[in-house]
């Protein structure tokens, strides 16, 4: 009797299992095995920053007038030149500003326009007639006129110096004047995905041509710099891992150039001159070299 009951229970259980199995096989054909969990090691994410350098600005004294262009809707703020201007002033140089109502010929060449016939000629004071020794042009938004270009060319021929500063992040018509001296600021920016100063647009430069601007420089950092094309006037070159956003030819790219027998200097980054970027690596040294270069040679005091 007991055996009979067991058999009957067994049969019921088999029926149960058959249905369960059947339903299972109807819906399932395998199991999911999750892949191994791969997570990045977050604590390993660090960002090396270029060291700031202690810098003492040892300089010679001189005298001269530095004219800063404000007449071409220049795209910069006055405070962005503070570091450079302080170096110039500490060297005994005088800073003057040129705006739209001024006469460029008068400022650069000490030439005064003859008044039209019948008008009284007013002789300017001797002080006002001193020509500038250097002309600084920063990110002009307006083109230079033919007259102005002629004036600046004459100025450089006569021994004056011109410093062009542009920046890929600013609007600029600097080529309207720079091209007269064999310099073209390309419409690009330089980048390095491998080795950079925190961001791919902040590049290092350590390949320099020996001259007054690059003396004692080992490595500088530029912050969204562009490339300047010239005929053999480049004085600083990027490395093989730094590329132009536009130029693909593979030629050596240069953000700094010195043309016209070292009388015209072109820089294609404004940021490195400003705080706190001036104190990264040898940037301060470069700024001081530029300030020294701007002192008219005849008026340099002996150290």
């Amino acid at each position: 009797m007991a055996k009979l009951i067991l058999v009957r229970i067994g049969i019921v259980l088999i029926g149960l299992v058959v249905i369960g199995l059947g339903r299972g096989l109807f819906f399932y054909r395998g199991f999911y095995s999750p892949p191994p969990g791969e997570m990045p090691s977050y604590e390993s994410f660090t960002v090396p920053t270029a060291p700031t350098s202690e810098f003492t600005d040892n300089h010679t004294q001189g005298e001269g007038i530095i004219l800063i262009d404000l007449a071409h809707k220049n795209d910069f703020e006055g405070k962005e030149l503070n570091v450079l201007l302080l170096r110039l002033v500490s060297r005994g140089l005088t800073i003057k500003y040129f705006d739209a109502k001024d006469d460029l010929k008068k400022e650069l060449l000490a030439k005064v326009e003859e008044p039209p016939d019948g008008q009284v000629k007013v002789k300017p004071a001797a002080e006002e007639l001193k020509p500038a020794d250097a002309f600084i042009v920063v990110s002009p938004s307006l083109e230079f006129s033919k007259e102005e270009i002629k004036t600046v060319e004459e100025f450089v021929k006569g021994g004056g110096k011109v410093l062009f500063i542009a920046d890929p992040t600013r609007s600029s018509q600097v080529n309207s004047l720079a091209i007269r001296f064999g310099l073209i600021f390309e419409s690009d920016y330089l980048y390095n995905m491998k080795e950079n100063e925190i961001n791919y647009r902040n590049i290092f430069v350590s390949d320099f041509k020996e001259n007054d601007i690059t003396k004692e420089l080992k490595k500088i950092a530029l912050y969204t710099a562009g490339s300047i094309s010239s005929d053999n006037a480049s004085i600083a070159f990027v490395d093989q891992n730094t590329f132009s956003s536009v130029i693909e030819s593979g030629r050596k790219l240069a953000p700094l150039a010195l043309a016209q027998e070292s009388k015209v200097l072109a820089l294609y980054d404004l940021t490195f001159i400003t705080e706190p970027y001036n104190s990264i690596l040898d940037n301060n040294r470069l700024i001081s070299n530029i300030a020294d270069w701007l002192i008219p040679p005849a008026k340099k005091a002996k150290p």
């Binding site: 058999v7 009957r8 049969i11 019921v12 259980l13 088999i14 029926g15 149960l16 299992v17 058959v18 249905i19 369960g20 339903r23 299972g24 109807f26 819906f27 399932y28 054909r29 395998g30 199991f31 999911y32 999750p34 892949p35 969990g37 791969e38 997570m39 990045p40 977050y42 994410f45 660090t46 960002v47 920053t49 995905m193 491998k194 925190i198 961001n199 791919y200 902040n202 706190p276």
Partner: protein, 311 residues
């Protein structure tokens, strides 16, 4: 007479029927009853009966115990800037993880990304889900930046030949220096800005590293482009994505569902969608709106895994 005799028989029959005594009808009914009882006794003690019982009980128990497996689709579309929308996505992912009837999930992605934080919330939740059930991503028009970040958390990624994906990187407006005045003070140098501009740039770089690492660790050996190229944040078409290992196959939602079923080891499954509230439509975020987003930065930086045209 014949008629009285016939009536007499009927009466007898009627009386027998009423009395239930040793009448002929009673004996017939009883005999029939006894026969039925014998038959039933034979059936209910026989093996086929218990077999049928077992099968019936099996059906009753198995149906609720082994329900039809389900694959659910979760749609992740448009910009991930609305926290309410992101919370809904997270709830749907949690529900999918906890519901034992759901055996696999298909993420339908059509998004250019959003805030770094909201993207990461979804990414980590998908990873958690993936530990329990397979997740297959199906890229519709776009899985760029944060949209792609979420996709790489899936076991498998499908896209159409001209779907757009990639843009591996982050963006941010940089903090502006605090404007000082005499009527408002903070207790610390970076209370208003969160840090210097250089710190914000450094953070952006760490966020980039995090995104690139996530892609490289999740795609593993399937990825066929170096980290440096990935960091350029290019946008790729589906066919390029396949070539470079950014996705696994060209296909649509249908293929993604089939793949999810294959990974889960299920068949004859049901498919349904988990409802999520509608996000703010992306067409409202045209190219001009990076300016709006940037304007939200104020003095503190805000980081985005977002593909959006610059001003």
């Amino acid at each position: 007479m014949v008629v009285p005799g016939y009536i007499d028989s009927l009466l007898n029959l009627f009386l027998c029927y009423i009395m239930w005594g040793n009448s002929y009808l009673y004996r017939i009914i009883l005999t029939r009853l006894e026969f039925t009882m014998r038959l039933l006794r034979r059936w209910f003690t026989s093996i086929p009966f218990f077999a049928v019982l077992g099968l019936a009980l099996g059906a009753v128990i198995a149906i609720p115990l082994i329900p039809q497996p389900k694959i659910v689709t979760i749609s992740i579309s448009d910009v991930l800037l609305d926290q309410t929308y992101v919370d809904d996505i997270l709830k749907a992912l949690t529900q999918a993880r906890e519901d034992n009837n759901i055996k696999a999930v298909v993420l339908e992605i059509d998004s250019p990304g959003g805030y770094v934080v909201t993207t990461e919330q979804i990414y980590l939740e998908v990873l958690r889900l993936r530990q329990k059930k397979p997740v297959v991503a199906s890229v519709k028009m776009m899985a760029a930046s944060g949209g792609y970040y979420i996709a790489v958390a899936a076991n498998y990624i499908y896209a159409q030949p001209t779907s757009e994906m990639g843009s591996v990187g982050a963006r941010s407006g940089l903090p502006e220096p605090e404007k000082l005045n005499e009527t408002s003070l903070t207790s610390g140098l970076f209370k208003a800005t969160g840090g210097s501009k250089r710190k914000a740039i450094a953070e952006l770089e760490m966020i980039r590293q995090e995104f690139v690492s996530a892609v490289m660790s999740q795609r593993g050996s399937r990825l066929k482009i170096p980290e440096e190229e990935l960091s350029q944040a290019k946008l790729y078409l589906g066919i390029e994505g396949l070539r470079y290992g950014l996705i696994d196959a060209i296909g649509t939602r249908t293929d993604a569902i089939k793949k999810a079923a294959e990974l889960a080891g299920i068949r004859n499954y049901g498919v349904s969608g988990l409802y999520i509230s509608q996000p703010i439509p992306f067409f409202l975020f045209g190219s001009a709106d990076w300016a709006k987003l940037k304007a939200q930065t104020g003095t503190m930086p805000v980081y985005y895994y977002l593909y959006i045209e610059s001003e």
